[in-house]
Structure formats: structure tokens, C-alpha cells
């Protein structure tokens, strides 16, 4: 069975999401798969069966959206939902979280290490996939990530992100620094 069909079937069983949200998630997942057909969707396929949408605590300031792998929840800021954010961009970052997270890893962020680089790269990917017609809270992270992609190669970041490999990032950066 085609992977997108599997995702569609698993989404259909999710009791936590409205049909509208399911349609949007399937649309964004399909778009991702068209752009990056070699990236596995096996993790997302499983997580999408019972992923929830939730709100961050009132005093949490972790950006407009985060994906919590432990709770399998895409959390939106309770303060910022009323501001000028692009919901497709936010939802795509949630999708990327489901695709790239595994145990302690979110992309190449393991236990908070390389957190900013991971934020910047997720922002980049979401921009590439769906653009961003709204507010961007991570311009500095985006700029720095772009510079790093030019130092060590964008392909390295791509492989590290989807294979949860932070070691290669450090290795390549240190090679660039000292030879």
C-alpha cells in the first residue's frame, strides 16, 4: 500500500482530531512526501493515529508551536494564536516534528543540544514547503542556520535532521574550523 494511503487510513482512526484538521495534515504530509520522497514517513504514520492538538501553558514561551514527542501532541501557544501567524506554516512544523522525532531526538536536537539549529532548520524546511505569510519569531536562528548550511553543506544538515545524527554536525563544523 502506498505510504500516503497508510497515513490517510491511520488518520481516519484518530479520535482526537476534527475532519478539517485531518484533511490539512494529510495535505501537508502529501506535500512533504512529494518534495522529499526518500524520507521515511514510518514514524509519522504511527504517531498520526493518536496525535493531539493542544495548548502550551500560559507561562510557557516556546514559540507559537512545538511538537511534544512524549505526549504526541502538537502544542500551540495560548497567547499567540490571535496574532498574525500562518497556520499552514505552524502545522507543517508540527508535521516535521512527527517525522523527525525519535526517543530523545527532535531532528538533531538531543536533550536540548543544538536546539537553536534545529529550530532554524525546521523553520527553513517549513518555509521551503509552504512558505510563511505570517510572523517569524526565529529570524536569527534562520540566518545562523543558513550560514552553517553554507559552511558544512546543506546536504549534511538534511541527512542529520532526518537521521537524528547530531554528531555529524559537530564533526563537520570542527573540520571546517581547523581542517
Amino acid at each position: 500500500m502506498d505510504i500516503i494511503e497508510e497515513v490517510r487510513n491511520n488518520l481516519a482512526t484518530n479520535q482526537n482530531l476534527t475532519d478539517e484538521v485531518k484533511d490539512k495534515m494529510l495535505e501537508l504530509t502529501t506535500l512533504f512526501h512529494q518534495k522529499f520522497p526518500d524520507v521515511s514517513l514510518d514514524r509519522l504514520k504511527e504517531k498520526i493515529k493518536d496525535v493531539k492538538l493542544g495548548k502550551m501553558g500560559v507561562f510557557e514561551r516556546k514559540g507559537p508551536v512545538i511538537y511534544d514527542s512524549l505526549k504526541n501532541e502538537i502544542c500551540f501557544s495560548s497567547k499567540k494564536l490571535g496574532e498574525d501567524y500562518d497556520i499552514d506554516h505552524l502545522m507543517m512544523k508540527g508535521i516535521l516534528g512527527m517525522i523527525s522525532s525519535y526517543e530523545d531526538y527532535y531532528g538533531f536536537n538531543k536533550n536540548g543540544s543544538l536546539r537553536a539549529l534545529n529550530i532554524g532548520y525546521t523553520e527553513m524546511l517549513a518555509n521551503f514547503l509552504v512558505g510563511n505569510e505570517g510572523v517569524c519569531d526565529y529570524e536569527e536562528e534562520l540566518l545562523a542556520t543558513n550560514l552553517i548550511s553554507q559552511i558544512i553543506g546543506e546536504d549534511i544538515l538534511f541527512q542529520a535532521y532526518f537521521n537524528n545524527d547530531s554528531d555529524i554536525i559537530y564533526k563537520k563544523m570542527l573540520e571546517a574550523e581547523v581542517g
Binding site: 521551503f128 536569527e140 559537530y170 581542517g179
Partner: protein, 110 residues
């Protein structure tokens, strides 16, 4: 002493924290990140690992860069500030490097 890599990543992560708790420290943290990354890039330049075209592209922060990933909504003031910081860092690093080379060729010790 921390490597430039460690400094860059540590201050990038601090930048995220600063946004959440101490917004007035964002600019300083970002400047340190840029300086560290600039130094690394300059090191590559000095080792001949970059073409002239690569050097030109590295300074191009604008959303119209030829790179695959762009952000069309990047604030122009921040982009200009980052660009300026980068150019200053590269200029200083290359100037320092050429002064060292000159001293060596004159037989002076550093």
C-alpha cells in the same frame, strides 16, 4: 578554551533562551554567533576551501539568495544588521591574517 564551533552553538541555544526570558540580550548573543561563524568561514577561505563565488554567496543574507531554503518575510533591518556584522568580522579576520603573513615574510616572529 572553547572552539568557535562550541561558542557558536552555545550562543545560538542561549539566543533561544534569551528570547524567552531576557529579550534585551538577544542582540549580543546573535553578534557572538555571527562572529564565531564568520571566523570559521574565514578559516575555510584561508585554507583555500572556498571559491570566489562561495565567498560572495556567504555574505548574501537576503531572502533572494540562491539557496534552496528562503524566508520571504525576513525583516530587512535585521538582515542588514547581520550582514554588516558578518562583513566586519570577515574584514578583521582577513586583515589579521594578512598582517601575520607580512610579519612572517619580513622575518619577524609573532
Amino acid at each position: 578554551m572553547a572552539t568557535k564551533t562550541e561558542t557558536a552553538f552555545d550562543y545560538m541555544d542561549y539566543l533561544v533562551t534569551a528570547k524567552e526570558t531576557n529579550p534585551h540580550q538577544q542582540t549580543d548573543a546573535f553578534a557572538i554567533v555571527l562572529e564565531s561563524l564568520s571566523d570559521i568561514r574565514v578559516s575555510q577561505i584561508q585554507r583555500g576551501l572556498c571559491s570566489e563565488e562561495d565567498i560572495e554567496k556567504f555574505g548574501d543574507f537576503l531572502p533572494t539568495t540562491t539557496e534552496m531554503f528562503t524566508n520571504k518575510e525576513m525583516h530587512p533591518d535585521r538582515v542588514a544588521h547581520a550582514h554588516q556584522k558578518y562583513q566586519e568580522s570577515v574584514k578583521i579576520a582577513l586583515l589579521t591574517s594578512s598582517m601575520e603573513d607580512k610579519d612572517l615574510s619580513n622575518g619577524k616572529s609573532l
